[in-house]
């Protein structure tokens, strides 16, 4: 039983050894010529202009989540399209149902204003922030 995992142990040792050598040798042997660019978080790319821990508009997360949903849809569609010939009508109907379900979700997001980037109040969203805070304080 345990002997089956021996290759795994060897792999771990090799990987750690390789990492140690790859990190260690340059640290010992490499020339050190620091300059301003080297202390930037990225040597290439956009230079950061502010701290990452700041407030985002909440729509950002909604759009990000929607992106993931439709991204997955494409991932699912791709292999389906490749072998559609062999799957036939059944797969076509299946995928139509799947897309229909996502379409309903899309209509829902659109109508509810999840795609509108701005501070408007959604229908049914008549909560006043301060009231909530007050009633919480009262309960405590």
């Amino acid at each position: 039983m345990a002997i089956d995992y021996l290759p795994l142990l060897i792999l771990i040792i090799l990987a750690m050894g390789f990492a140690a050598i790859a990190m260690g040798l340059p640290a010992v042997l490499g020339p050190k010529l620091p300059n301003k660019q080297k202390y930037e978080p990225y040597e290439s790319g956009i230079i950061p202009f502010a701290d990452a821990r700041r407030r985002f508009p909440v729509q950002y997360y909604l759009v990000a989540m929607l992106f993931v949903v439709f991204d997955i849809e494409v991932i699912f569609l791709y292999p389906w399209a490749v072998i559609l010939n062999r799957l036939g009508l059944f797969a076509l109907v299946e995928m139509a149902i799947f897309l229909l379900i996502l379409l309903v979700g899309y209509v829902y997001c659109w109508k509810r204003g999840a795609l509108d980037w701005g501070g408007q109040v959604r229908p049914g969203d008549d909560v006043v922030e301060s009231q909530v805070v007050e009633s919480q304080v009262e309960e405590e």
């Binding site: 059944f90 109508k111 049914g124 909560v127 309960e139």
Partner: protein, 480 residues
């Protein structure tokens, strides 16, 4: 790929497909409606969906037992549990009709979530594969997390949602870890094959026993067994009351049905061990639930602890691991769905909307001015305390009978003693209704759906009690 295999026995999941279609329809109808008035049609559409799913379930009943993709099965037990869940969902929809407009104007999501939660529950009741089981569990849990926080302006409702979500997610991870370990021990996720394998070869005990224990924790949370019951009173109290009614009957039925199936199909060979574990849990659950319920002043908290205690009674039926026990559990769940939803419907008529709850003194003097409402509440309370000839009596009777015939007489005795304790707090509500003066004039709230569901639950509680054989006839147990 073999297409015939994919579509074979597709009818097994017909009720789920119907529910999913109606959930989408509800969302679309809500998006396409022109004005607020038209949203009154949404609960009717929801009811139509639930009735269609019931019709589909009834249609499957006349067909031979079949399994879809080895993942879901339509045997008598699954169909019975599905019916109970659909009944609970239908009653909850009736209760939501007049309730929801007062707490939140976004109605489309609510009814769609009710349908989706129902879908998850019925799926869980018929799942025969650990993966399908987990998927179904997550479908209805996620829907219920949102539903319990549906009164967004109310901090209690938000608190209930948050607590349920955090603890529920934690319990789900216990469940899925247990499932993974069980898979590790048996090498398959199909319950029946796990059972076959573990009957001959006992699997790797280092994986098997922790797996069973973790699954037990996951189920224990969902059906609120002591000591995994801590969330129950807070969530039941904070959630909008129709959601509480749906949750208490629906989740219990779905989780117990799946629990029974896992124990009876995957782990029958280990009955000696889990039998004792369940027996200890049952004693704890009944006793703690009943003793805590004694001290509750809030009707909803009292019913929440009573729900914990009831989970204990149902667990008694599972301990012997017999077909008779599983049938008794299902019958108990049927009676519980009616009497508990009925009792919560009475709470809805009495509660103050901001508090999402009614204290016991709201029931004082109810009998003088609202005799029918008091009568209905008396029926539910007497039935919950197990007084013949109401439904609750036969529920308890069959459960304890199954325990005695399975050789667990002492457990049945503990159950009966607990039942006697519980009579105190159920009857206290009746004393308040009939013998106390009203402290403040209470104007019960009413709407058509509420009255209808009160009438249905009260009638069903009486009729099941008078003709129990009518109902036991078409419920069937699992195994042996």
């Amino acid at each position: 790929m073999n297409i015939a295999a994919l579509t074979a026995n597709l009818h097994v999941i017909l009720p789920e497909m119907v529910l999913a279609a109606f959930a989408l329809l509800v969302i679309l109808a809500d998006m396409l409606r022109q004005d607020e008035e038209e949203s009154r049609l949404l609960p009717l559409l929801t009811l139509a969906g639930i009735l269609a799913a019931m019709a589909a379930t009834a249609w499957i009943w006349n067909r031979p037992v079949a399994s879809y993709q080895e993942g879901a099965i339509a045997d008598g037990f699954a169909l019975g549990a599905r019916t109970v869940i659909l009944v609970a969902a239908g009653l909850a929809t009736l209760l939501s009709m007049g309730y929801l407009p007062r707490i939140n104007r976004q109605m489309g999501e609510y009814y769609a979530l009710v349908l989706l939660a129902t879908l998850g529950m019925t799926m869980m009741a018929s799942a025969t594969d650990l993966i399908v089981l987990f998927l179904a569990l997550e479908i209805f849990s996620l829907a219920l997390y949102i539903l319990s926080g549906y009164y967004r302006k109310n901090p209690r409702s938000t608190e209930a949602s948050m607590k349920y979500f955090l603890l529920g997610a934690f319990a789900s991870s216990f469940f899925v870890y247990g499932a993974a370990l069980l898979y590790g021990a048996a090498g398959t996720t199909q319950l029946r094959e796990i059972g076959n394998l573990l009957a001959s070869d006992h699997g790797n005990p280092n994986l098997l026993w922790p797996g069973i224990a973790l699954l037990l924790v996951g189920f224990g949370f969902k059906v609120s067994l002591v000591p995994f019951h801590m969330w129950t009173p807070d969530v039941y109290q904070g959630a909008p009351t129709p959601v509480t009614a749906f949750m208490s009957a629906g989740t219990k039925t779905a989780a117990f049905a799946a629990f029974v199936r896992v124990l009876m199909e995957a782990l029958p060979a280990q009955q000696i061990q889990w039998g004792w574990a369940l027996a200890v849990l049952a004693v704890l659950t009944m006793t703690v639930g009943n003793l805590t319920a004694l001290r509750q002043l809030s009707l909803k908290r009292m019913l929440a602890y009573s729900s914990v205690a009831n989970a204990g009674y149902i667990l008694v039926a599972l301990v012997p691991g017999t077909a008779q026990g599983s049938k008794a559990a299902l019958f108990y769940l049927l009676t519980y769905a009616f009497m508990n939803v009925g009792a919560l419907a009475v709470v809805i008529t009495l509660e103050k909307i901001d508090e999402l709850d009614a204290l016991q003194n709201r029931a004082a003097g109810l009998a003088d001015r609202w005799p029918l409402l008091a009568l209905a509440m008396s029926i539910f309370m007497l039935s919950l305390s197990g007084i013949p000839p109401l439904a609750g009596f036969f529920g308890k009777f069959f459960v304890f009978q199954a325990a005695v015939e399975g050789g667990w007489t002492w457990l049945a005795v503990v159950g009966v003693l607990n039942s006697a304790i519980s009579a105190y707090y159920y009857l206290r509500v009746m004393v308040a209704m009939y013998f106390h003066e009203a402290e403040e004039p209470v104007q019960p709230r009413r709407w058509g759906g509420l009255s209808l569901s009160l009438a249905l639950t009260a009638l069903a509680t009486v009729i099941i009690g008078l003709y129990p054989s009518l109902w036991t006839g078409f419920l069937s147990g699992l195994g042996g």
